[in-house]
């Protein structure tokens, strides 16, 4: 799964889905390990996003209009 472009919100929603899937407890060991692995990577990604976040500021170029 490509997660590098996910926003925090998207990543968290995905993580929530995986968690709920896992909580159903109907998976085989193999599926569990695969899901858990993916979820762990996602949660690391989310925490990383929070840790490294820095507010970006850009200014909208004012379009000069002649009067």
């Amino acid at each position: 799964m490509k997660k590098d472009n996910l926003t925090y919100e998207e990543a968290m929603k995905k993580l929530q889905q995986l968690t709920e899937e896992l909580e159903k407890g109907e998976l085989t060991l193999e599926e569990t390990v695969k899901l858990y692995d993916e979820a762990t990577k996602l949660s690391g990604y989310c925490t990383g996003l929070l840790n490294n976040a820095k507010l970006r500021i850009s200014e909208m170029a004012e379009k000069k209009e002649e009067e």
Binding site: Y8, S43, K54
Partner: protein
């Protein structure tokens, strides 16, 4: 020569201007009149208008430096007091009043105008709750419209850096007071609404007097806010200040900082959210593992049960058990048999010849042979009669057989 005495237009206008300016009475004029043809020049910020009464008019100009200090938004038809000097604009050959300051006539005029506009827009439904849009939970791009130099922008940046560094501020500088305020904010709102990527807009301005904030009562701005596709949060002035922009906004915050807080989730809550999901994840995974472990244990248990060695052990135990049960049964049986034997022995004893002899029976022998029948003896035989306590020798006198 006529040509020698002719003046250029410039010379004349310069002279007339000098005449005006040499008259001290024209250097400080206080004038009352009604505003008409009001134009706020977009690029320079200068205001051009006329002041008139019932029969006359005079051109007026208010330069940007003074116009910025205006505590209300001049409109056509408004009666105002202006103070300034009268002079000549040489290029056009017009005299005009150069306005230093301007105030609306009547102390309550502003308030009356405010209430009038508020009632009108309210009746139109511009402030109705149904119009209010909900704010996005995780805004990516946050439009901020405020002055580039004011404290409001700094406050918003500070709050958002702390609370929600995931976001991006799209800053659109705008005048926050004076006649340009309404127009700048309208323009900023329109430009932002042309973009598809802005999730929420903050309209901010630091504290000031009611007159300072007057630009936010501009009718076109209020309408623009109400019609914005993107949710708008106002943070104008302080807690106690209400402008018509606040009424039209989807959410009104007390200050620019409060507006920044309202539009952004708090990163500490985001950390908690992430943590709680990780916690649930671990729980779910370990309960799955536990379940699988249980299944494994059960299988091992069942396997152990069907192991041949165990089967033999179990069977030998069974045999042991049966053996002991058998032994018990046998000993009980033997005990009973012994008792029965004693009873039988007793019975047997009752039947012994000795006992019979004691009862009065006697045994008869001839030459130590037991005689059981009358046919075995003859007359004159010598027989021995045996009692329990002794014998007697007898001779047979007569034999009588039965039957």
């Amino acid at each position: 020569m006529i040509s020698d005495s002719a003046l250029t237009v410039s010379q004349l206008n310069m002279y007339i201007k000098m005449m005006f300016e040499s008259d001290i009475r024209l250097q400080k004029v206080l004038l009352i009149g009604e505003i008409s043809n009001f134009v706020n020049h977009y690029k320079t910020g200068h205001c051009y208008f006329s002041l008139k009464d019932d029969s006359c008019g005079i051109k007026a100009v208010m330069f940007a430096g003074n116009a910025r200090k205006l505590k209300f938004v001049p409109e056509n038809g408004m009666r105002v007091y202006v103070s300034g000097r009268v002079s000549v604009f040489e290029r056009d050959g017009v005299y005009q009043i150069y306005v230093d300051s301007m105030e609306p006539e009547g102390a309550g005029a502003l308030m009356a105008a405010f209430n009038q506009l508020k009632d009108r827009l309210e009746k139109e439904g511009l402030f109705s709750p149904e119009r209010k849009k909900t704010l996005p939970e995780f805004p990516n791009k946050i439009g901020v419209i405020t002055s580039a130099s004011g404290a409001a922008f700094h406050d918003i940046v500070t709050v958002m850096s702390r609370r929600y560094p995931l976001g991006e501020i799209i800053f659109y500088p705008a005048a926050v007071q004076g006649p340009e305020c309404g127009r700048d904010n309208v323009k900023a709102l329109r430009e932002m609404n042309k973009r598809e990527d802005i999730d929420v807009i903050i309209l901010g301005r630091g504290g000031g007097s009611a007159e300072d904030l007057w630009g936010y009562n501009d009718e076109s701005l209020v309408r623009e806010i109400a019609n914005s596709k993107i949710p708008v949060v106002t943070g104008i002035g302080h807690e106690i200040d209400f402008t018509l922009s606040d009424f039209a906004a989807d959410v009104r915050a007390a200050t620019p900082s409060a507006a920044a807080e309202i539009v952004t989730p708090d990163i500490t809550e985001l950390y908690q959210w992430t943590d709680s999901l990780i916690f649930r994840l671990e729980n779910a995974a370990s309960s799955i593992i536990e379940k699988l472990e249980d299944t494994l244990k059960n299988s091992a248990e069942r396997l152990k049960y069907s192991d041949p060695v165990n089967k033999i052990e179990k069977q030998s135990k069974d045999i042991e058990l049966m053996k002991s049960r058998l032994e018990t049964a046998v000993s009980v049986y033997l005990g009973n048999a012994e008792k029965q034997l004693a009873v039988a022995d007793e019975k047997l004893k009752m039947l012994s010849p000795v006992k019979m002899l004691q009862k009065g029976y006697a045994m008869i022998f001839r030459d130590d042979t037991k005689i059981k029948s009358a046919a075995e003896i003859s007359e004159n035989d010598l027989i021995k009669v045996m009692f329990s306590d002794g014998t007697a020798s007898c001779r047979i006198e007569e034999i009588r057989k039965y039957g």
